[in-house]
Structures are given as structure tokens and as C-alpha cells.
């Protein structure tokens, strides 16, 4: 199947200032979304995984490249171990590096891939690869998987953005050839106010300004196609959606300051911890995809110390997120991925650091149809072999996530360069399915 990535928007021809009018406009927009949604529902019946498909995803990106040897694939007492101490986990025979005690205790709900492989050893290219499932090519940007999900599984009910990036690194998720409307909405530390949603002139001032704007829009529209806005510029559409967001009660999902102190504390008093807490609340509010980034894993020097510092932040946040999703009944339909763009070398360099290693790194997968308690792949305990046993390619992980969401990853989208490109060209890893 080949489709064009046209946005499925429609709206009235004039600006509407009242909430009622806005909701009316929303209804109209929703109607136009029904057709592709109905198509998707029909499609789901053909390709659905076992059980009910997932419908939301959380990506926890560990930016910089976490060391698999200091986290989920320790090799204690070996020449490549770097002095790491291993601990038991909830799965017999599975060991983690010390510092991950909380995560170790929930591994019955989580599976581990120890054999992720990529061909990209550079941060930017590696991130592009892990976020899109494709290697970078000139003149075309592939969509991040969150954008694909929002494109394929639109949710007309939600007023706030359905694709959110919390604490984005330099490369937040982008819509690529699907269109910039599928870019992730970026926010920083959820302790801070959400950017740009408060009208700078107050509500009255905004209405006054939009009334003025209509005069300018009217002048520009003369002599132009009447469907210019709906078919091309989406100016009024985005203006209306922006106003919906600005006045939406669902914005509260971003705000973690009202969460009881004890509930916040378990995530750790860190921006990443608060980001994970906000991610759970956003998923509960109906957001399709949230990515939260934890930077600081690029330990070319003093690896052990640097990794341990990040592990402490990750452990509390990750374990709390999984527990919280499960407690709220969200884990069954929410996929959670946690990992970096690559791992780190078995060899420790002269600065006591580890360098980039895309040939066998770790990824945690949980929820949304992923089985818990399984381990895929194995790396070489001597560090001499480059390829791990049972390698999992980045694109295969993407195909699997899409499969669990009921998305046909073989579906092709016609791109602006005139070429159809499949949502993913990987293969589903069925042994990770529940």
C-alpha cells in the first residue's frame, strides 16, 4: 500500500474565538480523521499481534551511549569488566551492574535485548538510526517512530499534542517526510512551566489580536484559492489547535508539581525522574508517544564514575515508571523502550573511559505486548568478537514496535523525492512477543 503523507486536517474558513466554536471546529476536524482511522482499524484486524494491540509508547533515550558493561550486560571479573559488581535480578541467572537494584526487581515485567547492533557509531547518525529505524541519507528525513505512530494512529479526542519530547537532546523526534506537524512537541523539565502556552497579552488581548489578524488574513486571501488554508498553509488550522491547547484542561498532565511529594520522590528528584512521571501522566491523558531523554552517558573518560552517576538517576525513574504504568493499568497497552543510540567499547581506553560501540548493546523493552522476563542475545565476555550472538538490528526493533501497535510496517509512504518508503524495513522479533 502506498499513501501520500498529507495531513488529515480540515477546519472552518474563519477564526473562531469561543471555546464552543473551537470545539465545533474540532468536531469537524475529527470527522475528517475518521476515514483513515476506519481504514486503520480494518487494517489492524489483518495484522494485529496476539491480544489487543498497544496504543501508546514511551521511549527513554539514554543519550551519549550507555555502557552495556556497566548497566545491563556486566562482565565482572573479566578483563573487560572494568571492576563492575553484578547483582541478581528477578530473573534467575540474569545479572545487572550494581546500582540497578530497583530495575532488577521488576525484570519479570521487562525483557532485555543484549545484542542490539547498528552501523552507526556517531552520536547524531546513531540517534537518527535508533529513532527512525533507518540510516541517514541526504535530502530526505525519515520520520521518528513516534511520528509514525501519531500518523498511523491519530487520536482526535486529545486536545494537547499527541507526540511529546521531554528534555530533548539536540535531535528531538521529527516528522520527517510525514510533515513537520508530526514533530514532537518539546518541553524541558516538567518542574518548569510549559513553554509558549500562556498568551503573552492575556486572554482578552489574544482575542483582540486575533480579531485584527482576521483583517490581514482577509486581505491576503483575495485572489487566492479558497482552500489555500486547508490544502496548503494550515495556518488557521494550527492557530485553532494552538488555541485549543492553550485553553485545555489536559495541559495539567504536564504539571507534576501537584503530584504528592512521596509519589514524586520515588522517581528521584531529577529532571529525568520528573520527565518519567510526566510521561506516565501524559499517556494516561491519551498522548500517543512520549520520549524522555537522559543525557550524560558519553563517558570517553572516567567511564565507571560517569556511568554510575547516570545509573543512579535511571534506576529510580525507570523502575517507578514501569511500576506506575502497571498500577494504573496502562502497561498492557503502553510499550516502553529504554536504551541509547549505541553502547560502549569492551576495551577501556587510556583515560579510563570507553568509546562508542554499536556492535552489541542493550535495550530494555516492556509493556504493550512485549513479554517480560526474557533475554535475547549474548555478547562476548572477552570483548574480542565484534558480533554478538543472535543480533537484533535497529530496524527489527522498529518493526516489532509497529507490529505490537497493530501497524503494518510494510506500508509504504510516498515521499517528496518521489520514492515510496516503507514504515520499517525490519523484521518482527516474534520471540519478544507475549
Amino acid at each position: 500500500m502506498t499513501t501520500n503523507p498529507d495531513p488529515h486536517f480540515a477546519c472552518g474558513s474563519n477564526f473562531h474565538l469561543t471555546r464552543r466554536a473551537l470545539l465545533k471546529g474540532t468536531g469537524m476536524t475529527g470527522l475528517t480523521w475518521l476515514t483513515p482511522l476506519a481504514e486503520l482499524l480494518a487494517l489492524e484486524a489483518e495484522v494485529a499481534p496476539k491480544g489487543k494491540p498497544a496504543h501508546s509508547v514511551i521511549f527513554l533515550w539514554l543519550a551519549g551511549g550507555p555502557s552495556q558493561l556497566d548497566t545491563f550486560d556486566p562482565q565482572p571479573n573479566s578483563k573487560i569488566g572494568g571492576g563492575v559488581r553484578a547483582i541478581d535480578t528477578a530473573i534467575s541467572g540474569l545479572h545487572f551492574a550494581s546500582g540497578l537494584e530497583q530495575t532488577a526487581s521488576i525484570m519479570q515485567d521487562v525483557s532485555l535485548i543484549r545484542s542490539m547492533v547498528s552501523k552507526e557509531g556517531d552520536h547524531e547518525r546513531g540517534f537518527y538510526n535508533i529513532k527512525t529505524g533507518y540510516r541517514p541519507i541526504p535530502n530526505l528525513t525519515h520520520p521518528a517512530i513516534g511520528s509514525i505512530i501519531c500518523h498511523e494512529l491519530p487520536n482526535a479526542k486529545i486536545e494537547i499534542p499527541t507526540h511529546v519530547s521531554i528534555l530533548p537532546d539536540r535531535w528531538p523526534a521529527r516528522g520527517g517526510f510525514l510533515g513537520a506537524e508530526y514533530d514532537a512537541f518539546q518541553i524541558g523539565d516538567p518542574a518548569e512551566p510549559i513553554p509558549d502556552v500562556q498568551p503573552i497579552s492575556g486572554v482578552d488581548g489574544l482575542e483582540r489580536r486575533i480579531a485584527d489578524l482576521q483583517v490581514i488574513e482577509h486581505a491576503f486571501a483575495r485572489g487566492r484559492r479558497p482552500d489555500l488554508d486547508q490544502a496548503k498553509t494550515l495556518h488557521q488550522v494550527t492557530m485553532q489547535k494552538a488555541q485549543r491547547i492553550m485553553s485545555s484542561d489536559q495541559l495539567k498532565a504536564f504539571d507534576v508539581s501537584k503530584v504528592p511529594t512521596a509519589d514524586r520522590a520515588v522517581y528521584g528528584d531529577t529532571p529525568f525522574g520528573r520527565g518519567c512521571l510526566a510521561a506516565v501522566r501524559l499517556i494516561e491523558a491519551g498522548v500517543r508517544c512520549v520520549e524522555v531523554t537522559l543525557n550524560g552517558w558519553d563517558t570517553h573518560a572516567n567511564n565507571a564514575e560517569g556511568q554510575a552517576k547516570q545509573v543512579a538517576i535511571l534506576d529510580a525513574a525507570y523502575a517507578s515508571l514501569i511500576r506506575d504504568l502497571k498500577r494504573r493499568g496502562l502497561l498492557d497497552h503502553t510499550i516502553v523502550l529504554c536504551g541509547g543510540e549505541f553502547g560502549r567499547t569492551p576495551k577501556i581506553n587510556l583515560l579510563e573511559g570507553r568509546d562508542h560501540w554499536p556492535s552489541g548493546f542493550s535495550m530494555l523493552v516492556a509493556g504493550g505486548g512485549f513479554a517480560g522476563g526474557r533475554v535475547i542475545g549474548e555478547t562476548d565476555s572477552t570483548g574480542e568478537k565484534e558480533a554478538p550472538a543472535d543480533p537484533v538490528h535497529v530496524e527489527d526493533l522498529h518493526a516489532t514496535v509497529q507490529h505490537l501497535l497493530g501497524i503494518d510496517s510494510s506500508k509504504e509512504i510516498m515521499t517528496s523525492i518521489g520514492r515510496p518508503i516503507a514504515l520499517s524495513d525490519g523484521n518482527v522479533i516474534h520471540k519478544l512477543e507475549m
Binding site: E124, N139, G179, D196, L213, G223, R225, H235, A242, I417
Partner: protein, 552 residues
Amino acid sequence: MKFFSSSRSWPTWLRHSILLAIVIGSAAIELRSLLSLPVAVQSQPILKALPNEEDIRNTARIVDTAFEAAWNQNNIQPASRADTLTIVRRLSLALTGSIPSLQEIRELEMHPEDERVAWWFTHLLVDRRSSNYLAERLARVYVGTEDGPFIVYRRRRLVEWLSDELYANQPYDQIVRSLIDAQGIWTTNPESNFISVTVEPDKGPSEAKLATRVSRAFLGVQMDCVQCHDGKLDSNWKQQDFHQLAAFFGQSGFALTGLCDDPKDKYEFRYLRQKEEKIIGAVVPWQPELLPEHGAPRQRLAKWVTARDNKPFARTFVNRLWALMLNRPLVLPIDEIPLNGPFPPGLEILADDFSSHGYDVQRLIRVIVATRVFQLRSDSTDPNKLLTTEAEQQWAAFPMTRLRPDQMAGSVIQAASLNTLDAETHVIFRLKRSIDVNNFVQRYGDVGEDEFGNQSGTITQRLLLMNGNMISNNIGTDVLTTAAARISLLAPDSSTAIETAYLAVLTRRPSTMEAEYFSAKLAKTQENKTRSIAMSDIYWSLLNSTEFSWNH
């Protein structure tokens, strides 16, 4: 001051320095001169005919004839000619990434109507902003937007070098030869960054990445899709074609003197279904007779790529420059031009003119600007005969395209300053502009190398334009820092104030209806404060209009 309180992320010393500069540099009498035409302003000498002007016009006429034949054949009625200020805005966005300032518009309008476009063009060509901006756009094609390997790569140095070359109007074939055959250290020989950006850890420059760049950026063919095996995506290229091109970079490496070639090195590759790697010979994919027999591989490749009879080279740059000027290439995808046609109207004429005039980039820009297509309206003057999508597709109307993030940021900042922000601007203001643009683009979202996608706006972008810091900082009521407040305070009457705001933001005068509506709004205000707020409202609405966000 609100301006500074909302810029709390800036260092104190910077805020204080800016304040000092503003106080010293802002003479109200100078600002007042911008609010009405009669006040004399310093201007460049009125333009006399540019060299080869008639020759340029003749070439443009030949291009026009080709397009007109296509319109007639398809029974398409083209749009009428756009007004001068609209053309000036397009030129400014294409060459500097920003709308013209009010100061520039005032200077422009001192010249006779029929000389204004040419004067404006000359004004921009000698403006360093143009070469800087074009260099950045071309650098995206040559090395992408990635930071690259820090130890051996300095993107900024490459962009500066490109800017110098373009400013000096060095022949384009010479620029490209310098890139492909670069030698030396990436800091002192900036062109070598074209090669060093592809360096992979422990491996040196990537032959495959360089073959991809060369084929796409300079030859307009996508050979990299057959990198792994033949027949991918119905490509006519063979895997062998790609790797034989890559082999020209097989000797590239680094020594103490920086990038150099080592004749002992060879490019080795294992083809699909072959058991072993083998040495791949350097072979060009077409017209082997143009390849010099002697010389280092990269030197030979550089000469072959830029050979006068290697027409894909000229076509590729014409297609790229056309896209930079009109925001859409003649051939899509921009880097997949058929070797043997068919070609769209204009392409062969412009390519032949480009190669036969020594690959003169400035001349090519002048020819494109002189074409009828560049000067067409994007709308219809007859409400009963609206332009069709097909008319726009066939270049019978100027294509409407959304401003790129950097253009949007540059234009918001320029609109908020009545004076031109250029190389003559005080370094503190330029620093502030640079910081503001970077922050804005980061939040607005950079399009990277995918510059000519048909992008509409996003929610994040809309919210940023409605409520973001850059907007609130630039439309506030602080008379020292925002154009809106200065216009409100200094304009002699409401009508002048409205006209000034329209010129500063939309590069046009208001229609009668707009003038009446906004003048009445301003006239209702009695005190300076409420007048200032009303002007701030108008500025917000102008900046949030479709017209501001789109190149038309």
C-alpha cells in the same frame, strides 16, 4: 525593562552591554527619519546599468520563451507581474534569509520605480549577508548539518571559506574542484572539511559517503541507492558504478600535514554475492573521455566532474540555485536529474549559459531574477479567475512556500528593528541576533538538508509565534528596544504609523480597508501607553499572519 527581564537567560554583562549600546546608538532623530519619506537618508549612488545587463535580459527572455511555450501548450494563463516590493522581499529572503528593513525600503524608494529591482539586487550582492547566507545553504548540500567528527572537522570554517569564495564571485567549477581535491589541515585549508566530515573512527574518510555527496551535490544523480546491490528502487545504476566512483577517494587519508593522498592505499570492497573483498578501480560513470589520464585520483575526478562538457554538473547547480531563489527546484527530486532528459523549460538554457559564462554564480542569479517566472505574482488580480494548482506547478505563478526556520527568525528580528541588521551593525547587536536566531531555530525546528519539502506549520511553531519570547521581546512597549513602540511614539499620525508597521513587517503598504481599520483602532487611543499597546497588538497580528510566514 521588560525586554531584559524576559531575557533572563542572557548573561548580565551582555544585557548591560546591549543596554549601553542602545542608549548610545539610538538617536530619536535618526529613527524619526525612517517614519516618512521626505527626510533625507544616506543612500548608495543610484544604480547605473549593471555590466552585461542587456545580455542578461536576452538570456532571461530566452528562458521566458521556453516557459511561455509550455503555458500555451497547456492552455495556462500566467499570473501578472508582482509589484516591486514583493519582488524585493523575495530577493531579500533568498539572498539574506531575512525580509528587508524599513531603512532599506526607504532607501530603495528614493530611486525611480524602474530601477528599484536592479538597485536592490546590486545592494544585496555587495552585502556580506548574501554570501554568508548562500554559503550556509550550499554547505548543507556539501556537508549536511551534522557537527561531524570534532577532531578533524570544522563546519564553521568551511562555511566561512565558501562565503569568501561566493563574495569574490569565484567560478563555481573552481570552488568544486577545491572541495573534491582538498589537501591540508581542516582549520587552515577549510575546503578540506568537505572530505574530513566523512571521517569514521579508525577508518579515515569514508569513500562511500564521499561518492554519495559528489554524485548528489555536483552531478544530480542518486547512485548511493545501489550501494549494497543492483536494481534497488528501479535504479538503472549498478552497484559497480557507485563503488568505482567511491574508489577515487580510496587514497585519501591523514598525515601530519593533514588531508593528503597516499598512492599505496586502495579502495577495497566486497560486492554482493562475492566471497572476498577486491580492489576496485576508479572509473567514472559516464563520459570517460573527459577524465584526465594523469594525476592523483581526486584531482582527476575533480576535473572530470567540472569539465565543460559534463553537462550534469551545470544542470545540478542551476536546479539547486533555482530552488534557493524560488524555493522549489525545476526538477524534483532536486538531486535526481535525468542524464538525457527530458528537461523542464529553462533548465538547459540556464545550464548552457552558466557553463558558457565561466560558471559565474552572480550572473546566474541575475538571469534567474530577470526571468518572468521570478517576477510573477503568486495570486490572481482577477477574483473570478483564480490561479490553479497546475498553474503554480507549471511556474505560471510564483510558488507560495513557507519560510524556512532561519528565514522566519531573521525576519522576526529584522521586523522588530527599523534599521538594517547587517555587517555594519554593532557587534553586540549582531551577537544578540545570532543568539536569538539559534534559540528560535532550535525551538522552531531546523529542516536540516531537507530544505524544499512542502512543509506546513506545526503547533509548536504556531505557539512559538503566538507566545514565544522572541515575539514578546520584539513587539513589547519598550521604546528603546522595539519597533512597535518606536513607531507608536514617533509617527506623526495613525495613518503613517500603520503604513510604517506594514512596511517593516510585510514589506507592503496596507490596503485601503486595512488602513482604515487599523487607523481607527489607533485613533481611539488617547494616551501614549494605550497607543503603544494597540501598536503592539498590530505588530503581533502582522507577525502571526499567513502572509508573513510564507514566501509569496
